[in-house]
C-alpha cells in the first residue's frame, strides 16, 4: 500500500467518525415531542379574547358597528 493510500484510508475513517459521533450523542438527548397544535391554538384564542374585543371597539372604521 502506498503512503497516499494510507492517508486516504485515514481520512475516510476520520470522516466516518465525524459523521457518526453527532448522531450517537444527539439521539438519546432528543425529547419526544407530541404535537398538540389543535389544543394550543384554541387556548391562544381564549387568551386573546379581550384583545380582539378591544380592537373591534377601537376600529369601527374597519369592522363596522356592533349589531343591534
Amino acid at each position: 500500500m502506498s503512503k497516499r493510500a494510507h492517508l486516504l484510508t485515514g481520512l475516510g475513517a476520520v470522516i466516518a467518525a465525524a459523521g457518526c459521533i453527532p448522531v450517537q450523542i444527539q439521539a438519546p438527548d432528543e425529547p419526544i415531542e407530541i404535537n398538540l397544535n389543535v389544543n394550543i391554538h384554541q387556548e391562544v384564542i381564549v387568551r386573546l379574547e379581550r384583545d380582539a374585543a378591544e380592537l373591534l371597539d377601537q376600529h369601527s372604521d374597519l369592522f363596522g358597528e356592533a349589531n343591534p
Partner: protein, 131 residues
C-alpha cells in the same frame, strides 16, 4: 404675503373638513356592499368577495385597503402578545362572527363555504372559537 396666509388657512380648514367626510363615505360603501351581499366577513379575520357578485374597481380597492389595515392591526397586536398574526386574526374573527354579522349578511365559514345569516339561521361559529 397676507393673502397667502389667508389662502393657506382656508386650505387647512378645507382639509380638516374633507378628511372625516371621506372616512365616513368609505364606511358607507363597505356597509352597503355587506348589506347587499357583495362582500362578507371571513373566518380568517378578513373581508372577502362573495362569488358571483359583480365587484366594482372602487369597491375592490376599498376592501383591499381595509384588509391591509386589518393585517397591520393584527400584526402589531400579535407582536405585543407574542403570538402569530394568524392567531390574532382568528381571535378577531371569533368576535366579528359573534357581534358584527347582521341578519341578511353573508359570511365565509372556516371550511371556505359562504353562508348567510338569516332570521332562522344564526351565524355558524368557527370551531377554534371559545364556546
Amino acid at each position: 404675503m397676507k393673502r397667502n396666509l389667508v389662502l393657506a388657512g382656508m386650505a387647512a380648514a378645507l382639509l380638516a373638513l374633507a378628511a372625516p367626510l371621506t372616512a365616513a363615505a368609505q364606511d358607507e360603501t363597505l356597509a352597503q356592499a355587506r348589506a347587499g351581499g357583495l362582500i362578507g366577513e371571513q373566518a380568517d379575520g378578513f373581508l372577502g368577495f362573495v362569488p358571483g357578485a359583480t365587484i366594482s374597481a372602487d369597491l375592490r380597492g376599498r376592501v383591499d385597503q381595509n384588509n391591509i389595515q386589518r393585517r397591520q392591526l393584527y400584526a402589531s397586536r400579535a407582536a405585543e402578545r407574542n403570538v402569530s398574526a394568524n392567531e390574532m386574526a382568528a381571535a378577531v374573527a371569533c368576535e366579528v362572527f359573534q357581534r358584527r354579522i347582521a341578519e341578511g349578511e353573508r359570511y365565509r365559514d372556516e371550511s371556505g363555504q359562504w353562508r348567510q345569516r338569516t332570521a332562522t339561521q344564526p351565524v355558524v361559529m368557527p370551531s377554534f372559537c371559545p364556546s
